[in-house]
């Protein structure tokens, strides 16, 4: 799958997301303590862990929605390193806390974001059709499964290299899951993904699994160790 980024139009090349020794807490509660991992083009990094182990926090840090208190995050696209501001605008993000304007229809919502992202509005129509989301229905009237499909459509609008997926198959029925899995397969031809889920999941092109539960338990001990990819 290609990208709208003009630099990406020349030839698909290697992309990389890499995070090292990430530290993030809320108040006095440490959530991430020395978490590291990486994924390259065509790979999936699976992040697992129990509730509260920091999966969503890690993804929010990678998306640029939270600033880690220590550690580094690198996103390289087509050989170019993106800064935090570019990273925030380039990633595709699916998460339960992602919401849309309820009085607007699904199509109006996506068309609005197309204009923000500089993407032709027909891209929104095509994605809604591919994912089977009723385009003329108000976002507030969509079922939870349809809202999840809308989140996927939103995340893929600008054809990002990096997809950050927090419980991406939540609330989806069989057809919905099949549709998004097809889009994920297509994305992974020249993109990469970090997927967070409470339990191990069957995903294509799995490169590594990062278990934050084990890491969290380790980080609670007085001498915190550094988590790595398994």
């Amino acid at each position: 799958m290609g990208r709208y980024n003009p630099q990406a139009m020349t030839a698909p090349s290697d992309s990389l997301v890499e995070f090292t020794d990430l530290l993030r807490g809320f108040g006095r509660v440490p959530v991430l303590a020395g978490v590291s991992g990486q994924a390259r083009t065509g790979q999936v990094l699976l992040v697992t862990g129990s509730n509260g182990s920091g999966k969503s926090t890690l993804l929010r840090c990678l998306a640029g929605l939270l600033r880690p208190q220590a550690g580094t995050i690198r996103l390289r696209e087509d050989g170019r390193e993106l800064d935090a501001v570019e990273r925030r605008r380039r990633v595709g993000y699916v998460a339960p806390d992602l919401a849309f304007y309820e009085p607007l229809t699904a199509e109006e919502n996506l068309t609005f974001f197309c204009r923000l992202r500089g993407v032709p509005a027909r891209r929104a129509v095509e994605l809604l059709a591919t994912l089977g989301v009723p385009a003329r229905r108000a976002a507030g009237a969509l079922s939870s499964g349809m809202r999840q499909r809308l989140r996927w459509a939103w995340a893929l609008l600008h054809q990002p290299r990096l997809l950050l997926l927090d419980e991406p198959f939540q609330n989806l029925d069989e057809a919905g899951e099949a549709a998004v899995r097809t889009l994920l397969d297509s994305h992974l031809e020249d993109g990469l993904a970090v997927i967070a889920t409470p339990s191990p999941l069957l995903v294509p092109r799995l490169a590594a699994t990062l278990d934050l539960s084990r890491h969290h338990a380790a980080s609670d001990r007085p001498t915190a160790g550094r988590a790595g990819t398994a």
Binding site: G64, R89, D97, A99, F112, L116, P120, A121, A129
Partner: protein, 249 residues
């Protein structure tokens, strides 16, 4: 639903060539600001939260003031001093009741996440400010003729009155938008807006009242309009510089 993946996704090169929406940075920025403005109005026209709040507050206050003071309740000598100030107090409180909702609602309904990931902060600020300004100007267009008629406010210079309403309303919109963005990030939102608004909006309101007095008296002190416009400009520049810091983590 179409078969998954059966619909060909557009080739990027073809999209860039045919779409025409992937323009220059300036065009994209303007497109983003316009999109935010249109989205806010479209959402508002379907829910009418801010419209109802602003209108109800303004009309209720106007009726209270007119019944308490009325055209005869204020002597002609005091009218010049009192009525312009009352008009701006009504506009300030209506704005404070309705305008800060925009950003707070984005945070409360979690739409802010998608906005943070997709919008250029400065374009977002401009779009939101334009929306607030247009809302406030629409309120002024409804309220001020009523106020002038009910309170029998003798306006000598319509030009000065329009200038006061336009420049004062714009400043109020810029200031409210920036403060609303700050307030939306904080806890204790209810108390924070008035506390922050006082020092930021006080100079603006004093100048707007002075200019409105000039519209009633027929002349205004030197530099009042220029100072008001300069203050608007300073607010706009501060907003453009501060907003990305306030908006992003």
């Amino acid at each position: 639903m179409s078969a998954p993946g059966s619909l060909p996704l557009p080739a990027p090169r073809a999209a860039a060539m045919a779409g025409g929406e992937v323009g220059t940075p300036v065009r994209r920025w303007l497109g983003e600001a316009t999109a935010v403005f249109v989205k806010d109005w479209r959402t508002e026209l379907r829910t009418r939260h801010a419209l109802h709040t602003l209108l109800l507050f303004a009309v209720t206050t106007l009726i209270t003031v007119s019944m308490a003071l009325g055209p005869l309740g204020v002597s002609s000598g005091e009218r010049l001093a009192v009525l312009p100030a009352l008009l701006w107090i009504i506009l300030l409180f209506a704005a404070a009741a309705g305008l800060p909702r925009g950003f707070v609602q984005e945070e409360e309904t979690h739409t802010a996440t998608a906005l943070r990931l997709a919008a250029t902060p400065s374009a977002l600020f401009c779009g939101k400010t334009l929306y607030s300004a247009s809302l406030l100007l629409a309120l002024e267009a409804l309220l001020v003729p009523l106020y002038v008629a009910v309170m029998q406010l003798p306006v000598v210079s319509l030009g000065l009155l329009f200038a006061a309403l336009a420049a004062g309303g714009l400043g109020l919109a810029i200031g409210s938008t920036l403060l609303a963005a700050i307030v939306a990030q904080a806890q204790g939102r209810g108390a924070l807006f008035p506390i922050l608004a006082f020092p930021v909006l006080l100079p603006l309101l004093l100048l707007a009242v002075e200019l409105t007095r000039g519209a009633v008296a027929g002349s205004v002190g030197e530099g009042v309009l220029a100072n008001l416009l300069l203050y608007d400009g300073a607010l706009a520049v501060s907003g453009l510089m501060l907003f990305p810091i306030v908006w992003n983590p």
